[in-house]
Assembly symmetry: C2
DNA sequence: ATCCTACAATAGACTTTGTCTAAGTCAATC
DNA sequence: GATTGACTTAGACAAAGTCTATTGTAGGAT
């Protein structure tokens, strides 16, 4: 997905285009991107010094509502924002440095939950987080 | 695991026993228990009105370090504390009311992550979170 | 049983992450 | 280029968690 595609799609949905929104969308572009709101703000400020924290939060929230960005909670601190919203995937996290990779496991984990373990729930979604050490951190250990 | 077992084990590890620590451990006793620090504090206060927030946080942190309690991040807000640390399990969460159940899926999700999707990481652990609606919330919908 | 002291508990300041509001600004349309 | 409703802003507020200086006490020593 190129950035211009995202911006086009947003404009088509009636999104009013502003310098702030463009910069937030641009900062989120790329693969394996999982930034916190503060990280997005820090990078946005480089291009647009007057952008406010509130606008970054507002814009991220709107991108999530529109289904263009996902919220992920791989660490137990700040939420992270993931532009890879159109291809289902899971996450692989380095326990040491926090690096996050998008991964696509085999099989369907939903099928692995037997009825006897569903407590009558209607189960619709699964998130899988793999944890370990990235090559750098494993070498340093 | 009975509560007295936990308290014995902690004492055996040189844990100084205090009224506060006993109450925190007691509040966490049970199945499918996944309380936030504030919830633990609220319940502890009933038995020991003068217990402080800081002590609850300290005690929970120590129980986690000792491996007797797990931190769980099933929602994107406060951490939850899980006394079921000795039996590996995953979680089933109601998207509506937040109810959390311990579940034991079939198979080993670690085996489902092919080498080509490991990015050179040493993968040691997996967390799976199933989401859906509990019977109550499904009936209300 | 009492004393001692290292460890634990407390109140409250502080930090981080996130939300909200009132007032000012501007993108899109006319 | 004027209009206007949506967007942005600064800063107050809130929730979750951490840290520190002070006071209290569990458990061993006497
Ligand atoms: Mn991702
Ligand atoms: Mn659990
Ligand atoms: Zn690493
Ligand atoms: Zn429910």
């Amino acid at each position: 997905m190129r950035m211009s595609d995202l911006l086009e799609r947003l404009r088509g949905r009636g999104w009013r285009m502003t310098a702030q929104r463009r910069v937030v969308a641009e900062v989120l572009n790329g693969d394996h991107v999982h930034l916190t709101a503060d990280e997005v703000h820090a990078r946005a400020v480089v291009r647009l010094p007057e952008i406010s924290r509130a606008t970054v939060y507002n814009t991220l929230g709107e991108l999530v509502s529109l289904g263009e960005v996902l919220e992920v909670a791989t660490d137990k601190r700040a939420k992270r924002y993931d532009p890879n919203a159109h291809r289902p995937h899971h996450h692989l996290v380095c326990a040491q440095c926090g690096a996050i990779k998008d991964v696509h496991p085999d099989g369907n984990p939903l099928a692995d939950l037997p009825d006897s373990e569903r407590f009558g729930f209607t189960v619709s979604n699964v998130e899988v987080t793999y944890r370990g050490l990235c090559p750098n951190c494993a070498a340093a250990a």
